[in-house]
């Protein structure tokens, strides 16, 4: 019966802080990378246990933004691939959208020769935003009072914005937080152009 010939060495190696497979030599540091290619990783093949060997899918290698990460071990930690891929992507989606740099958007006003840029995070609510806009355009834009039913009916200028879907929306309809997360740019329209669009207006499309 074959017995282990390096039991003593093993004790040292087992307690050594490394990610290599116990009982193998240094080449095992590279093993995770090579085993990921040799194990024919298929991202969408079901790993029906928590010990997933598809831990080094291409997707994750691209998204991994920690250059100092150690060599990853195949199938460790034991998290189901279904859970791993999905949550990791969403987590990164979220954190990239909550960056610390301001939320700068372009503002155009009909008739003005050039555009401006404002930081939406600088304002706390619609009131402050509209006040800021008025000041910025040296009070040349007369934006009236907002009402849910009639929009800015009767004002000389109407603030609109382009949302994530590319639609032009009336500023003020949705809660503030939702607005700053979806606003891509602002346009202060001439009231005469906007006439007729405010009736029953929530989503306006040009």
């Amino acid at each position: 019966m074959e017995t282990l010939i390096y039991v003593n060495d093993l004790n040292m190696k087992a307690t050594e802080l490394r990610l290599g497979l116990p009982g193998t030599d240094n080449e095992s540091f590279d093993a995770p990378q090579s085993s990921s290619s040799s194990s024919c990783v298929k991202n969408n093949k079901r790993s029906s246990s928590e010990m997933n060997a598809a831990s080094l899918s291409q997707q994750q290698q691209q998204q991994s933004d920690a250059p100092a990460q150690k060599a990853q071990v195949v199938g460790w930690p034991p998290v189901r691939s279904y859970r791993k891929n999905h949550v990791l992507i969403n987590h990164q989606k979220k954190s990239s959208s909550e960056s610390d740099q301001g939320l700068f958007v372009k503002v155009s006003m009909d008739g003005a020769p050039y555009l401006r840029k404002i930081d939406l995070k600088f304002y706390n609510n619609y009131f402050d935003l509209l006040k800021g806009l008025k000041e910025m355009f040296m009070n040349k834009c007369n934006i009236g009072v907002y009402s849910e039913r009639e929009g800015y009916n009767g004002s000389e200028f109407v603030p609109t914005y382009e949302d994530k879907d590319g639609d032009w929306m009336l500023v003020g309809d949705v809660p503030w937080d939702m607005f700053i997360n979806s606003c891509k740019r602002l346009r202060i329209m001439k009231g005469s152009e906007a006439k007729g669009l405010e009736l029953g207006g929530t989503s306006l499309q040009l």
């Binding site: 019966m1 087992a14 246990s49 071990v73 460790w76 791993k84």
Partner: protein, 589 residues
């Protein structure tokens, strides 16, 4: 020791051609009494014990058993099962070992041969529950057409099927009450299966398609939900939007379990109110999951339904600690909670303060490869939960640092753990304060928690941990070990102690042939042993296979490994002999 329910040859008075009465004493009870007693015995383990007493009890039991449980599909064959049990209505079958590498295509555990037999022998089959098995479209079609009384199909962590298989089930199973697909990922699912339920079909009580990725026809879903008045479990996938969800809730306010779709959508104030009130009207809601992409802006929509919740599954949405911390106070009746570690210790502290009835906590890592120990949860969060939730008995905790002292305190606070699964994500990591191995932590767990059934260990561990386990963990049934131990002695301690051990899974540990062979008598009393990336060789496995003919010893070799190295070893007891469907890379010794 649990007798294998499918081993007829263990019967003590087994002389197959024995005529009644000649060598047996008469039965102490008349048949009617035995049948009556049997009608109260539902656990398959109890029934198996019952069947071992006498031959006539064995026969009474096998004729009256209607629920079949097979924990390892290769431990027995469909033929043997069909011969012994003539009247089965419900089958539970489990396939692949949990710890195995699933990049292998077609390892096995295909349900088809079982279904072929069931179609022949159990025409009145009503329920089929499969875990970690491969289920092809052909199998689903066979199922749909063979069992006119079929009611419940549950596929947990399965694969191999697509749209056409599900379509067959939807169109042909007229009495279907349950279609439950959990954590099963399928390719080529186009989502048209849902539209295949006939227009007059209305018996569904459970519908779960949360893990299937495709778009489905919302129209078809809406009509289905409005027809099925007994629907109590509905778990939709991410393609369903918030306002669509609102319409479903209005149709089914009686739901007990709800899995939402995407929880991120621009809403008008009116829509927001409508959704809020739809949730408040679901007064029977006890279980909630899904909530993909939910943020603090949308969580308040749930508050009206939170009071009665007993299980909240937030493992699909990475909430930040600030967003999450306001939620627990609305859920005072929570028994089970699953979260992602982005809630951090602060989020766990909120749980400790607000959920005194909590029995189960699972914390999953948002990014399993992240190394920064300041991210995620630490020993502080676990401690906080143990202080506030004294009824805790199930924990799965992924973290990047832990201390012995914390674990010792945790189990003192909560001595009733039945499942303790601690995963310190960096292999071989010691106690982060003292730099010592984590032996004392797990020692405390096994010494204090007498009811412990399942244990997963991690961190820097010597053989001492396994000495503790072997000595104290008398009720342990499942043990998972990775990157631990110092020598064969560790594994031997476990094999020698732990009388109730059923499943042992080991990876990347310094255990070799001596340890493997030490347990040869034990493995027949267990369901299975898994060892990968250890020091076991093919020679050692061959010896085991020779000594123990009633075990299947399967070896899977990695591509560039040494000839004699047994990279992955799967050992399990069986009455079926070596399996016929093993793919070429699996060697059965």
């Amino acid at each position: 020791m649990d007798p294998d329910p499918n081993k007829p040859e263990e019967l003590p008075s087994n002389s197959a051609n024995n005529s009644h009465g000649s060598t047996h004493p008469p039965s102490p009870f008349p048949d009617e009494v035995i049948e009556k007693v049997l009608s109260y015995i539902n656990s398959h383990k109890d029934r198996s014990s019952f069947s071992l007493v006498r031959k006539d009890w064995y026969n009474a039991e096998r004729w009256s058993r209607s629920r079949l449980f097979i924990g390892n599909c290769y431990s027995v064959t469909p033929e043997i099962v069909a011969r012994r049990f003539p009247r089965i209505k419900s089958v539970t079958l489990k396939g692949k070992p949990r710890f195995s590498d699933f990049n292998m295509l077609d390892w096995g555990a295909n349900v088809h041969s079982w279904l072929v037999m069931f179609a022949k022998v159990y025409p009145f089959l009503e329920e089929l529950r499969l875990k970690r098995m491969t289920v092809s479209d052909e199998s689903l079609e066979l199922l749909a057409k063979s069992f006119p009384s079929f009611k419940a199909l549950s596929l947990s962590s399965c694969d191999g099927f697509s749209d056409s298989g599900l379509k067959a089930v939807a169109s042909h199973c007229r009495n279907l009450t349950e279609l439950d697909i959990q954590d099963s990922i399928s390719e080529d699912i186009s989502g048209t299966w849902l539209s295949s339920f006939p227009e007059n079909f209305a018996t569904l009580e459970v519908l779960n398609f949360a893990s299937l990725n495709s778009e489905i026809s919302f129209d078809a879903l809406e009509r289905l939900v409005s027809r099925c008045k007994s629907l109590r479990v509905l778990k939709v996938n991410e393609s369903i939007t918030l306002d669509q969800l609102q319409r479903l809730l209005v149709l089914a306010p009686q739901l007990v379990e709800l899995g939402t779709g995407s929880f991120l959508q621009e809403l008008t104030p009116r829509q927001y109110e409508d959704i809020e009130s739809a949730f408040s009207n679901c007064t029977s809601l006890r279980v909630l999951s899904g909530l993909w992409e939910a943020t603090s802006l949308y969580l308040p929509l749930l508050y009206g339904a939170c009071f009665g919740l007993t299980f909240l599954n937030l493992s699909d949405v990475a909430l930040q600690s600030g967003e999450f911390a306001k939620l627990p106070v609305h859920c005072p009746n929570l028994r089970r909670l699953w979260v992602i570690d982005t809630v951090e210790d602060k989020g766990l502290e909120a749980i400790g303060s607000s959920c005194p009835l909590l029995e189960e906590l699972r914390v999953f890592p948002a990014n399993p490869y992240e190394l920064d120990p300041r991210l995620g949860v630490t020993e502080r969060g676990f401690l906080a939960v143990s202080q506030g939730c004294r009824k805790l008995r199930y924990v799965l905790y992924f973290c990047r640092r832990m201390t012995n002292a914390a674990v010792i305190t945790i189990v003192q606070n909560c001595p009733n753990f039945t499942h303790f699964r601690l995963c310190i994500m960096n292999p071989h990591q010691p106690d982060h304060l003292t730099n010592e191995p984590m032996d004392e932590a797990f020692g405390a767990v096994v010494k204090t928690c007498h009811k412990l059934q399942r244990l997963s260990v991690s961190g820097l561990l010597t053989d001492l941990t396994f000495e503790y386990i072997g000595k104290y963990a008398k009720n342990l049934e499942t043990l998972s070990v990775a990157f631990a131990g110092s020598s064969d002695w560790g594994m031997q301690c476990v094999l020698d102690g732990s009388p109730k051990l059923r499943k042992l899974e080991i990876r990347d540990c310094p255990f070799g042939n001596t340890a493997l062979l030490f347990g040869h008598g034990k493995y027949e009393m267990m369901r299975s042993l898994w060892m990968s990336a250890c020091n076991v060789t093919i020679k050692g496995c061959t010896i085991l296979a020779k000594e123990m003919p009633r075990l299947n010893v399967e070896v899977i070799k990695d591509e560039d490994s040494d000839d004699n190295q047994a990279d992955k070893v799967y050992v399990y007891r069986t009455v079926a002999g070596p399996r016929q469907d093993a793919p070429p890379f699996v060697l059965t010794l």
